[in-house]
C-alpha cells in the first residue's frame, strides 16, 4: 500500500507542479474544471491505493449492460455438442 501511495503522490505532485504557473493565470472556470478532474482522480486513487472497491465505470457498465450484452452474445453463439 505504501508503494502505491508514494507512486500516486508522485503523479499528483508532478501534474500540479507542471501546471502551477498556468493554473495561477487561469480563469475561475478553468480552476474549477481542473479541480473537478483532480477530485475524480483522487476518488480513483483511493479506490486503487486503499483497496476500497468503490463503484467505477466498469462496475456501472457491468450492472447496466452485462445482462443484455451476454444475451446478445449467447443468442449468436453456436452451441457445441
Amino acid at each position: 500500500m505504501l508503494e502505491k501511495l508514494m507512486m500516486i503522490t508522485g503523479f499528483f505532485v508532478l501534474a500540479l507542479a507542471t501546471d502551477w504557473g498556468k493554473l495561477r493565470a487561469a480563469s475561475r472556470r478553468g480552476k474549477w474544471s481542473y479541480a473537478f478532474i483532480v477530485l475524480c482522480a483522487l476518488y480513483f486513487s483511493a479506490d486503487y491505493a486503499l483497496d476500497f472497491s468503490l463503484p467505477d465505470l466498469h462496475w456501472l457498465a457491468d450492472h447496466i449492460l452485462l445482462g443484455p450484452a451476454q444475451a446478445i452474445v449467447d443468442s449468436l453463439k453456436v452451441k457445441q455438442l
Binding site: M7, I8, F11, F12, A15, T18, D19, K22, L23, A26, S27, R29, G30, W32, S33, Y34, F36, I37, V38, C40, A41, F44, S45, D47, Y48, D56, L57, H58, L60, A61, D62, L65, L66, P68, A69, Q70, I72, V73, L76, K77, V78
Partner: protein, 367 residues
C-alpha cells in the same frame, strides 16, 4: 486563443491512426475465436456498418459546418440534453483511453518485458500523451503522419515476409457452423474499432474545410484501407496458425516470430512490438484529445490545454484501478464493449442526426 486547424490529409491520417492503432494487433485473435474462418467476412460486415456511421457523421457536420460537435448538439437538441449526451460519450471515451493503456501493459508484460511493473509503461505512455496534447492537434497531426507511415511499413514488411509460410487450405470451410458466428464477429468489430468512429466526430471539425469533397473521399478511403489491413492480418493469422489461431493473443506479433528467411532474417517481432506501442500511443492521444475537447466545451473553457495534465493523471489512475483480473477485462471488452458503444455513441448520434434533419428546413427558411 487561436483556433487550431488541420488539413484534409492530416484528418485522414488521424482517422487511420484512430481506427488501426491497437486494433491490428488486438482484434484478430478474439474475432477468429468468435467467427473462426468467417472472421474476415465479419470485418467486412462491420466495416460496412462503420462506413454508414461515417456517412451519418459527415452529413451532420455538413449541416453545421462552422460548429464543433458539441456545438451541433447544442444547436439541435438543446443545452441540457447535450450535457447528458456528452457525459454518456465521456464514459466510453474514458473506458477507451484506459483500455488502450491496459492493452499495452498486458502486451508488454506478456510478450516483451514480463518483470517490469505495469505502471512504468502507463506512466511513460501518458507523459508522452500529455506532452502531445499540450502541443496541440496541429503538431499531433504532423507527428502522427510520420508514425503512421512507419507502422504501415512495418506491417507490410511482416505480411510480405510471411508469404512462404501461408497455408491457404486453412481458410476452408468458411461457414462450418452457419452464419451466426460471422454475425457475432461482426457484433464485436462493430463496437471496436468501427463504432468508436463516433468519437472522431469531435476531431473532424478541426479540419480547415469540412465542406470540401476531398474530405469525405479521403475518410472513406482511409476506412477501406483500415478494413483491408485488418482482413489481411486476420487471413494471414488463419493461414499460418490454423486451428491454434484462437489460442494466440497478439497474433501479428506471434506471426512475426515465425519469420525465418535463410539464417539472416529472423526474430523481427520487435518491430511489431514497436508498431503496437506507436499505434496505441496515437489512438490514446487522439482519444484523450477528444475527451479534452468535449470537457473544455462543456466547461466553457477558452484554453483546453489546461486540462491535458489532469486528464492524463485521471486516465493513469483509472488504468491502475480498473481491471481486477485480465479475464474480467477481456469479458468486458468482448461482451459489453460493443453494446456500450451502441448505447452511448451510436444511439445518441442517430438521435441528433434525426433532430438535425427535421430542424434543417426551419434553419433554411429565414434565408
Amino acid at each position: 486563443m487561436k483556433q487550431e486547424s488541420i488539413g484534409v490529409l492530416q484528418t485522414a491520417v488521424l482517422l487511420f491512426a484512430f481506427l488501426s492503432g491497437s486494433a491490428i494487433i488486438v482484434i484478430p485473435a478474439p474475432i477468429i475465436a468468435y467467427a473462426s474462418n468467417a472472421a474476415w467476412l465479419s470485418i467486412l460486415l462491420s466495416m460496412t456498418f462503420g462506413l454508414a456511421l461515417l456517412a451519418i457523421i459527415l452529413y451532420l457536420l455538413r449541416l453545421y459546418p462552422s460548429l464543433s460537435f458539441i456545438g451541433i448538439c447544442r444547436a439541435t437538441i438543446g443545452k441540457w440534453p447535450t450535457v447528458i449526451v456528452a457525459c454518456l460519450m465521456l464514459t466510453m471515451a474514458f473506458h477507451m483511453a484506459t483500455g488502450i493503456i491496459i492493452d499495452v501493459v498486458a502486451f508488454m508484460n506478456s510478450m516483451m518485458l514480463p518483470e517490469t511493473p505495469g505502471y512504468i509503461f502507463m506512466c511513460l505512455m501518458l507523459v508522452l500523451s500529455a506532452l502531445l496534447l499540450r502541443t496541440g492537434i496541429e503538431s499531433m497531426a504532423r507527428m502522427f503522419s510520420i508514425l503512421t507511415v512507419v507502422v504501415l511499413f512495418f506491417w507490410l514488411v511482416v505480411i510480405v515476409l510471411l508469404f512462404p509460410s501461408y497455408h491457404p487450405e486453412f481458410l476452408l470451410p468458411i461457414f462450418p457452423d452457419g452464419i451466426r458466428p460471422m454475425i457475432l464477429g461482426g457484433y464485436l468489430t462493430s463496437g471496436f474499432p468501427y463504432g468508436e468512429i463516433v468519437l472522431f466526430a469531435v476531431i473532424i471539425p478541426f479540419t480547415r474545410n469540412v465542406l470540401a469533397k476531398p474530405l469525405s473521399k479521403a475518410l472513406v478511403i482511409v476506412m477501406l484501407l483500415n478494413g483491408v489491413m485488418l482482413i489481411i492480418t486476420t487471413l494471414g493469422t488463419i493461414m499460418i496458425l490454423g486451428p491454434i489461431s484462437t489460442e494466440k493473443k497478439y497474433s501479428l506479433f506471434v506471426l512475426a516470430q515465425t519469420i525465418e528467411i535463410g539464417d539472416m532474417l529472423e526474430r523481427i517481432e520487435a518491430i511489431i512490438g514497436m508498431s503496437m506501442i506507436a499505434g496505441s500511443l496515437m489512438k490514446a492521444t487522439i482519444t484523450l484529445f477528444a475527451i479534452q475537447t468535449i470537457m473544455a466545451e462543456l466547461f466553457g473553457l477558452q484554453d483546453h490545454r489546461l486540462l491535458s495534465n489532469p486528464l492524463c493523471l485521471l486516465v493513469q489512475i483509472m488504468s491502475l484501478s480498473m481491471p481486477t483480473t485480465m479475464k474480467e477485462w477481456e469479458n468486458l471488452v468482448l461482451v459489453i464493449h460493443p453494446l456500450w458503444v451502441g448505447a452511448v455513441y451510436i444511439l445518441p448520434v442517430l438521435f441528433i442526426v434525426t433532430v438535425a434533419y427535421f430542424k434543417r428546413p426551419a434553419r433554411a427558411a429565414p434565408a
